[in-house]
């Protein structure tokens, strides 16, 4: 019996011995696409990945991980080769500092593709008192030091504007690694903050101070960051009728039975208002691809083409909340996929 057991163990030891080199060999080529990045783009990428495989069941499914834009770009920029992701999904444009890190690690061939738009939606439970905000009011509620005049002391909405419903300010939103958070700071908060001419003047004279005033979100109990999980915010809203949540428009569209959009400057977050640019919280969604990986990793071209097909005006991605890019931009992106022209770092900030 022991002999039998010993024979059973032998292959185990062999396996332990030979798996390691085998897996490092695997490192030099890979049969599936690897994607990391934004939790906002994640549901779209998931859908595209599913369609990509459905189209031809012989294809291997892409591997998708939701890491947040910041975390995803870090993995993406860690180098070229089969152990690094091929694509990063981003809910904001890549930053200059990130791009430089990419260059330092030999990732100098990034193709930038705009897949469409998304709105940063403010939403609340359908059971809560209806609330409507202006960008100033929202900025005043959310900023660590509104207009640079000392720490934020507003606890209830009427502290900001007596006309607002008398409930505690309780905002659920994304953490600082999230692209949604960057977009929130750069799109909505900055607009609110610039309404004060003194602060707007800072943007030219003292850039650092301007960012501190306009981009820092308060850290007390009025703002809760819920991690890279937009679903969690939706769930929290339905149990806290007084709270306001910040997440991507696609989640609002998906959960229209439990939450409703909060109008900003009187404009509700809807497909039409985001597409027209009327809604102040609209932003662009990107994917970044390594040119050196195209044609090495099988199916990468087809995956990109599938993404563009899904993002058409009545494509399946628009049905789950993506807002399609205008035709002119789309044809430019299709050209980029065909010619694989890479991103010039000089255009970034």
């Amino acid at each position: 019996m022991i002999r039998k057991l010993a024979f059973a163990c032998l292959p185990a030891l062999l396996l332990a011995g030979c798996q390691d080199p085998a897996s490092t060999n695997q490192g030099s080529s890979r049969s599936e696409i690897r994607i990391v990045g934004s939790s906002t783009v994640f549901p779209f990428a998931k859908k595209v990945a599913e369609e990509f495989v459905n189209f031809d069941p012989e294809r291997r499914s892409p591997i998708l991980e939701s890491t947040g834009t910041g975390g995803g770009v870090e993995l993406f920029c860690s180098g070229v080769g089969a152990n690094t992701p091929d694509i990063v999904n981003a809910s904001r444009r890549i930053k200059k500092s990130e791009f430089e890190r990419c260059l330092a690690n030999g990732v100098d061939d990034v193709i930038e593709i705009i897949i469409g738009f998304d709105g940063i939606a403010l939403a609340q439970s359908k059971n809560g008192p209806k609330i409507s905000l202006t960008v100033d009011e929202f900025y005043t509620a959310l900023a660590a030091q509104p207009f640079g005049k000392g720490p934020n002391r507003a606890i209830r909405w009427p502290d900001i504007n007596p006309a607002l419903p008398d409930t505690r300010i309780n905002i659920f939103g994304p953490p600082s690694t999230s692209g949604t958070r960057d977009a929130l700071e750069e799109i909505i908060m900055e607009k609110g903050c610039k309404s004060d001419p003194a602060v707007a003047a800072l943007s030219d004279s003292d850039k650092e101070r301007f960012e501190e005033v306009c981009h820092s979100v308060r850290t007390d109990q009025a703002y809760t960051d819920t991690g890279e999980n937009d679903n969690l915010i939706v769930q929290k809203l339905s149990t806290n009728p007084d709270a306001v949540g910040i997440f991507s428009y696609s989640y609002l569209a998906d959960n229209a039975d439990t939450v409703r959009g909060v109008p900003i400057n009187g404009v509700e977050p809807t497909y039409a208002t985001i597409e027209s640019g009327e809604y102040p919280g609209a932003r662009t969604l990107y994917i970044y691809v390594k040119q050196k990986h195209v044609d090495v990793i099988p199916g990468l071209r087809e995956y990109l083409a599938e993404f563009m097909r899904g993002g058409e005006h009545d494509g399946y991605l628009t049905r789950i909340g993506l807002i399609a890019a205008p035709d002119k931009m789309r044809s430019e992106m299709l050209g980029r996929i065909k010619t694989l022209s890479t991103l010039d770092g000089a255009a970034l900030k």
Binding site: M1, I2, L5, A6, C9, P11, A12, L13, L15, A16, Q19, D20, A22, S23, T24, Q26, G27, R30, E32, R34, F42, P43, K46, K47, A49, E50, E51, V53, N54, R60, S61, P62, I63, L64, E65, S66, A82, N83, N229, N231, L232, V234, Q235, Y251, D254, N255, D257, Y316
Partner: protein, 431 residues
């Protein structure tokens, strides 16, 4: 408490100075009564603890089976497709032998599906079906190519909302759609084979558990084949060969501590060592298996050492006495007697590894993929992580799928334990 304590008749006379105990006196009776009461209280509390824990277990199983059973059922609606009209003329001989796959690949099933749905259910008819129901149509055509030659009725999965309407309550629109389908007799409920054979997806009506089940299986194989031999060999060496000194004591304490380290730490270790230092592929089953093996090994070492310790020294001495070498003593006598204990330790360790989520999240095994893993280096996810991911989904169709996945995990666990118990009983030697 009605029994009275009778005093023994021939009680020896009390020592001088000591007062005679008045057993029948009121104080003594009270004291005896309180002792009996304490006894009953203790028994009652013990029983209550057992009842409470079984109630919890029953509640858990009841809720899981109640919710999850529905996950194994799917709702299907009919779609009539006139294949010859849609595909032009495909002859019977095009469906023979090697030409079959090329023929099926040449058919644009998605377009045919879209047209058929619009023809039968109107312009907005796709709302009745799951978002990728056309893949089910293609699967049926591939399985039974003769259907391509005629007009046929296909059963395809309905949308998740209609599925919920068929099982309990759903949105008013879906309820109306379901009532309409039922009236026409175009809907049925059947066993959801796709749930057992399919992989992760975006539409709860068409997700399956096979991908993560296979991932769990592969990961467990790696874990077992590493942790079991290494753990048992370490235990044998420490018990039978190692000199008893400071160093051995230090190793023993370290192993005991290692067994108590929270699993998330092993995840970080796996991330730092396997992914960053050895540059192994992210999300791969082998990395998960290695990480879990690190976690399981100390448990096996400790259990095996105790089992080896429990083998009576007389057995060793008798074997030595008839001239067996130390290695013969170990492999012919000690290990066979210790195997049941070693197996028990291994079962506990493996069961813990099977249910582990946190360390696997650290090494990227939470990735979304719709292709089941084929080997040790393929990206995979495991059952508990799949349950975690589905429980996070907002779409209500995922609730029953989550519970159904829990049932699959429990069945997997019970099967694994049953095999181990069977092996243990087979190898058990009595003396």
């Amino acid at each position: 408490m009605t029994e009275t304590v009778s005093m023994p008749a021939n009680l020896p006379a009390p020592a001088s100075g000591a007062r005679k105990t008045d057993w029948m006196g009121q104080t003594m009776q009270k004291r005896i009564a309180s002792r009996y009461a304490a006894e009953r209280r203790f028994k009652f509390m013990g029983l209550a603890a057992v009842v409470l824990s079984s109630l919890f277990l029953a509640f858990l199983l009841f809720v899981m089976v109640g919710n999850g059973a529905k996950g194994f059922i799917t709702t299907e609606a009919t779609l009539t497709v006139d294949m010859p009209a849609a595909t032009g003329s495909i002859s019977a001989e095009q469906l023979t032998g090697p030409r079959l796959s090329a023929t099926i690949a040449s058919i644009d099933v998605r377009r045919i599906y879209d047209n058929a749905v619009q023809a039968q259910y109107g312009k907005d008819g796709s709302r009745f079906f799951a978002s990728t129901a056309w893949t089910a149509l293609r699967a049926q055509l591939t399985e039974n190519p003769d259907l391509i030659l005629g007009k046929a009725k296909f059963w395809l999965p309905t949308s998740s909302d209609i599925d919920r309407a068929a099982k309990d309550t759903s949105t008013p629109e879906a309820e109306a759609d379901y009532a309409q389908l039922r009236q026409a007799g175009e809907v049925r409920q059947t066993l959801n084979w796709n749930f057992l054979t399919g992989s992760d997806g975006t539409d709860p009506a068409q997700v399956g558990i096979w991908g993560s089940l296979k991932g769990s299986l592969i990961t467990m194989v790696v874990t077992l084949f590493l942790a079991f031999p290494v753990g048992v060999l370490a235990a044998v060496y420490l018990e039978e060969y190692a000199a008893k000194n400071r160093l051995t004591d230090l190793i023993e304490v370290s192993i005991n501590n290692l067994a108590a380290v929270p699993s998330i730490i092993f995840g970080l270790l796996g991330l730092a060592v396997f992914l960053q230092f050895f540059a192994m592929p992210r999300s791969a089953a082998i990395v998960g298996g290695l990480t879990l093996a690190l976690m399981t090994m100390p448990v096996i070492v400790i259990a095996s050492r105790n089992a080896i310790k429990a083998v009576p020294p007389s057995i060793r001495e008798a074997a030595m006495g008839v001239g067996a070498s130390p290695i013969q003593v170990v492999f012919h006598h000690v290990l066979p007697l210790a195997i049941p204990g070693i197996m028990t330790g291994t079962i506990i360790g493996m069961a813990r590894a099977l249910g582990e989520t946190a360390p696997l999240l650290m090494i990227g095994m939470r990735a979304f993929t719709t292709t089941p893993p084929d080997g040790f280096t393929d990206p995979a996810t495991v059952l508990p992580v799949q349950i975690f991911l589905w429980s996070d989904e907002v779409n209500r169709g995922f609730v029953e799928k989550t519970s159904a996945a829990i049932i699959v995990l429990l069945v997997f666990l019970l099967t694994m334990n049953a095999v181990a118990v069977y092996l243990r009983n087979r190898f058990e030697t009595r003396w």
